[in-house]
Symmetry: C2
Subunit: 125 residues, 2 copies
């Protein structure tokens, strides 16, 4: 998950995510740089997979919510999809929900043409 | 490879790299956003490995050089280490050399304490 503050320095951290077909949900500490960057900038860029088989997602912030405020079934669903339960990670964790605006996928450079799967929030495939 | 422009938007792309123990070398198109971001900001943050076994590197720019200007043995060494030869990728490719300033490595959250392996360019381990 790459994010940046208004000042301009890029941050990057590995995070688990849950995907429901429309929204990506992250769970992260609410005092982390990534959390603060995404809440202030309203966007993030996500990379999934290894270098030569990637999915890249440009996403915009939907909302942020403390894990302790989320309904139990929402946390259960996240924990199952992300294979990690933020309730066991101590206080201060929050969900960030992101909506993909552009999704690209490619393996090596020969696949770069035609790699865009979603543009402006609409699936092209 | 995460980078940002002065304006503040984070960019993220998957790139091969070559590591000689002191410097990370990337080869990328000189009109790409990542190239322009790193040359203008002088820094990048790199993530290696899968989500739950990562190496994170904060690095500063050493120099940038067109691939066509680099000595053949430099390109050969890059191609061998990165498993990819930028001479076969067409014109406009350049090397960017980055010096790690901070290196962190961890698997899961239980390893977050003690994860810093390099600080201000000095190995701690």
């Amino acid at each position: 998950v790459a994010s940046a503050a208004a000042g301009g320095e890029a941050h990057l951290v590995p995070l688990s995510l849950a995907w429901d077909g429309e929204v990506v949900t992250l769970a992260l500490q609410n005092d982390s740089l990534t959390y603060r960057n995404i809440v202030s900038s309203g966007r993030a860029r996500l990379g999934l997979g290894p270098t030569r088989d990637v999915v890249m997602i440009d996403a915009t912030l939907v909302d942020a919510e403390p894990v302790t405020s989320a309904p139990a079934d929402v946390v259960d669903t996240y924990a199952k999809r992300a294979d990690w339960d933020p309730r066991q990670a101590g206080p201060g964790f929050a969900f960030i929900r992101l909506r993909p605006q552009r999704i690209q996928a490619w393996r090596e450079s020969n696949e770069l043409p035609g790699r865009t799967l979603m543009r402006r929030g609409d699936w092209l495939v």
